[in-house]
Structures are given as structure tokens and as C-alpha cells.
């Protein structure tokens, strides 16, 4: 199957769990791209989030190890207290470097490194959240001509994060969670 894109990267913070659950529970079970997920989470709580998302998801969700290869159709959740980068060879690179935007994992780090590797073959999605993390990463994706979707602030639990992104860049689309699911599923259809 020839696809225009090679990966999807999603960032989210406060309120994003329900949106991510909706996306992953309604996405086609044969969705062919890898999904890289960076959600703000408690750094001292290692378990729980993965299990909760996996309960809802139609795709297998993994917390990767450092240097893992990315496999299409899998969902990679940034582990607690580690940044998740995409390395220059396309593998996953984890790091305990300093928090960025008070966050580890930082959405900016995941989005920007994904943009650097996948360039215009990337779909970047920024969801609801309470700080500015992710805005610069979305701009980096847009600068590399990737496709960018910002969750419609009107549908967000906390709209700071999408609004900060909208101040910095013009996304390809502003969408509600339902529209994001439809968009991803039509990529295959």
C-alpha cells in the first residue's frame, strides 16, 4: 500500500487521555502507520497509563525501550520520566535530559525530532493541554511541510496548548476529536 505519510505523532496534556482513548478506540484496526504518542504524565508513576490506553485501543500500544525500531501499525507511548526522540536512523531514542517546558517527556522534543526524521511524511496532532509544550514542535513539523492538526480549542478540556500552537503556526487543519478520527481512517480508505 502506497501512503503519502509514514508516521503520526500525537502530543497532549491535561484532558488528552479521553481524546487519545477515543482516537485509538475508533481507529481502523489495520491502520498502517506507526503512531508516536507523547502525553504529559506523572514522572514517578510508571504504570497505569499504558494499561488504560491499551484497554481501549484497537492497535497495540507499547512503551518502547531505547533504540527500539518503529513498526507500522503500533502505537508508541513515551515512558514516564523519559524524553522520547526519533533518532536519525528512525529508531526510538530515550533520554533523561533536563525537563523541557517543565515536562519529561516533553512534547516539543518528540514532535521536533519526528519532524526532523520524517519531514513531509509526518502527520502531527496536538491535543488539549495546559502549557505551551508542543507549540514549537508543531511549528517544526509545519516548517518541514508535514501535515499538522490542532485540536479545536472549543472542544478542549484545557485550551492553552492548542492556542499556544495557533499563535506560533498555522496548522493544516483545526479539528474536533471526531474529525481527527475520521481523517486518520480515511487515509487508509
Amino acid at each position: 500500500m502506497l501512503l503519502k505519510y509514514k508516521a503520526v505523532v500525537i502530543g497532549g496534556s491535561a484532558g488528552s487521555f479521553s481524546v487519545v482513548s477515543k482516537i485509538l478506540s475508533q481507529i481502523n484496526h489495520d491502520f498502517p502507520l506507526p503512531i508516536i504518542l507523547c502525553l504529559h504524565r506523572l514522572k514517578h508513576v510508571r504504570s497505569g497509563l499504558l494499561e488504560s490506553i491499551n484497554l481501549k485501543s484497537k492497535l497495540e500500544v507499547l512503551e518502547p525501550h531505547d533504540k527500539d525500531k518503529i513498526i507500522p501499525g503500533k502505537v508508541y507511548l513515551a515512558p514516564s520520566n523519559y524524553h522520547l526522540f526519533i533518532e536519525y536512523d528512525g529508531s526510538i531514542s530515550l533520554s533523561t535530559e533536563e525537563p523541557l517546558n517543565h515536562s519529561r517527556p516533553s512534547i516539543d522534543h518528540t514532535l521536533s525530532s519526528s519532524a526532523y526524521f520524517f519531514r513531509d511524511k509526518l502527520i502531527g496532532i496536538l491535543l488539549t493541554g495546559a502549557n505551551k509544550d508542543g507549540a514549537k514542535g508543531m511549528k517544526d513539523i509545519a516548517d518541514k511541510r508535514g501535515f499538522t492538526i490542532v485540536q479545536d480549542p472549543a472542544t478542549c478540556d484545557v485550551d492553552t496548548m492548542p492556542k499556544m500552537a495557533l499563535r506560533l503556526m498555522s496548522p493544516s487543519k483545526i479539528m474536533s476529536p471526531d474529525e481527527i478520527v475520521l481523517y486518520l481512517n480515511q487515509l487508509v480508505n
Binding site: 514522572k43 514517578h44 510508571r46 512503551e63 518502547p64 525501550h65 531505547d66 533504540k67 515512558p79 520520566n81 523519559y82 526522540f85 533518532e87 536519525y88 531514542s93 530515550l94 533520554s95 533523561t96 535530559e97 533536563e98 519529561r104 525530532s113 526532523y116
Partner: protein, 274 residues
């Protein structure tokens, strides 16, 4: 604009840095090195490659550069479950007259301080001998001062609670003119050795190697070299701890058995060939 290298430039520069510093920069992950150099440039006002290269002639600059490349440990008692496991291990070794520990690459004090507190609480502090490898003299000086960053205290306290510590964590600290430090009574039998992992090896084999979240920053191909250095320094029956999201080079089943998958603890076999 701070230092912002292309991949090709990073590759070339990493060779120069390796020659100039004897640190394996050329074995570091390239994206990691690019990020760290960018941050160093931003912090120190180094904007051009020529500035960086000229600085390498100055020992203090070189030391500062290395200190800024290595990544500090994030907090005390990171991964409390692992420290509970080490507590059990120390208790099992309490009949030994000496318990030797190697921390191959120390970048800040948290791992060492946590180790000393665990040793104190298991009654083996007087038996502990630590070899700590460091890459930059500035790093060593900071670690020796016992400084604990107060902004991390909330996380430190939370971790200590989950570790199920015996006392209050603050009881192990003292105020030194407004700076929070580990009490000096803990400071014994720590042998600092300068050099990267393969150079900082202890003189004698050890019971425990704490090598957490260091392999993250090196290329996968280099992990086997690191494994070899650890293997040759660890006693049969000794423990190796790596970061919870790191992978030990395979096959490890020839020399090591993973005895705790969640906390990434490996036991070195009691092989007859040892």
C-alpha cells in the same frame, strides 16, 4: 544563534572531540550530541564552531564542555522499586567484610547519595567501597560537595516514601549556609576515577554495578564494548542495574540472567570459567 550542526558536521566534530578529550564522543548518539552541543553553546555563548575548537585548547573549557555533555541523574531514589531490591541485596551481603560498588559514569550525586543512604539503612555503610568514574573534574567537585538541589526535593521525598525508607529523608541532609547537602558522615571510602566507562574500571571486581541511563547516550554498536567492560569488572554472582527502559546487549544469556525485568537487574553467572 547557538551551535547548530548538520549530521555530517556532528560526525566530523565527534572525532575531533574524541581526540582532544579522550572521551568517546564518536560513540555517542549523534542526535544526542547535537542537542547537548546546542545547549552548551546557548549556555556559554559559544556561537561558532571555530570558537568551540579554539576553546578545546583550554583545559577548563574542555572540562566544562564535558560536564555539560554528560546527563545528570534526575533525582534521589529514582525508581524506588529498584532501591528496595538493592536493599535486599545488601542485606544478603551483610556477612561480607567489604561490599564493592562501581558507578562507571557519574554525572551528578543523586545515584551515589541514594546508594549511601540505602547502605546506612541496611547497616552496611561501613562496608561499602565505591568506585565512581567521572568524566569532568567539575562533575567530581560537585558530587563531592554533596549538594542536593532543593527544587527536586518534592520528587526526592515522594520517591523515598515509595522506597519505604526508615527515617525522614531530610535527616540525612544538613544546611550548609543555605545549601542543602548530604551529611558529611556519609562520606567514606569513595574512590573517584577519571575517565569514561572503559577507563574508570575499578581495581578489583565488584558486587554491584550501577549503570543506569548511561547507555541511552551511546550508539547501539558501542553497547557491546560497555558490556564487556562491566562483565570484566563484576564478580560472578554480582548484580548489574541498568535503566528501566534500556536494553542490555544481546545475547546476554551467555553471561547474565535478568532477575528483575521491571527494574532491569541482571545477575552475573557463577560460571566455572570465571
Amino acid at each position: 544563534m547557538a551551535l547548530n550542526y548538520s549530521i555530517r558536521e556532528i560526525r566530523e566534530l565527534s572525532e575531533v572531540l574524541t581526540q582532544e578529550t579522550q572521551m568517546p564522543f564518536n560513540q555517542m548518539s549523534q542526535s544526542f550530541l547535537k542537542r547537548r552541543l546546542y545547549l552548551f553553546g546557548e549556555k556559554k555563548g559559544v556561537k561558532k564552531n571555530e570558537q568551540l575548537l579554539a576553546g578545546l585548547k583550554d583545559e577548563a573549557f574542555k572540562d566544562d564542555l564535558i560536564n555539560n555533555i554528560v546527563v545528570p541523574v534526575t533525582e534521589l531514589f529514582r525508581d524506588p522499586g529498584l532501591w528496595r531490591k538493592i536493599r535486599e541485596y545488601f542485606l544478603s551481603l551483610s556477612d561480607q567484610s567489604v561490599i564493592k560498588v562501581w558507578i562507571p559514569q557519574i554525572a551528578s550525586g543523586e545515584e551515589l547519595y541514594t546508594l549511601l543512604i540505602v547502605a546506612q539503612e541496611t547497616g552496611v555503610l561501613d562496608k561499602i567501597e565505591v568506585t565512581a568514574g567521572y568524566c569532568a573534574s567539575v562533575t567530581k567537585e560537585l558530587v563531592e560537595q554533596g549538594v542536593i538541589f532543593s527544587k527536586k526535593m518534592d520528587t526526592n521525598l515522594y520517591n523515598y516514601k515509595r522506597y519505604e525508607g526508615k527515617q525522614s529523608l531530610e535527616g540525612y541532609m544538613e544546611d550548609d549556609e543555605g545549601v542543602l547537602k548530604l551529611k558529611s558522615s556519609f562520606w567514606s571510602k569513595i574512590n573517584f576515577k577519571k575517565g569514561c566507562v572503559t577507563i574508570s574500571k575499578p581495581d578489583e571486581k565488584v558486587d554491584l554495578v550501577l549503570f543506569r541511563n548511561v547507555m541511552l547516550y551511546y550508539k547501539k554498536d558501542y553497547h557491546s564494548v560497555l558490556k564487556e567492560a562491566i562483565d570484566s569488572s563484576l564478580k560472578p554472582g554480582g548484580w548489574l542495574c541498568i535503566g528501566v527502559r534500556e536494553q542490555f546487549p544481546t545475547p546476554y544469556s551467555d553471561r547474565f540472567e535478568c532477575i528483575d525485568q521491571k527494574e532491569k537487574v541482571f545477575l552475573k553467572f557463577n560460571a566455572l570459567t570465571q
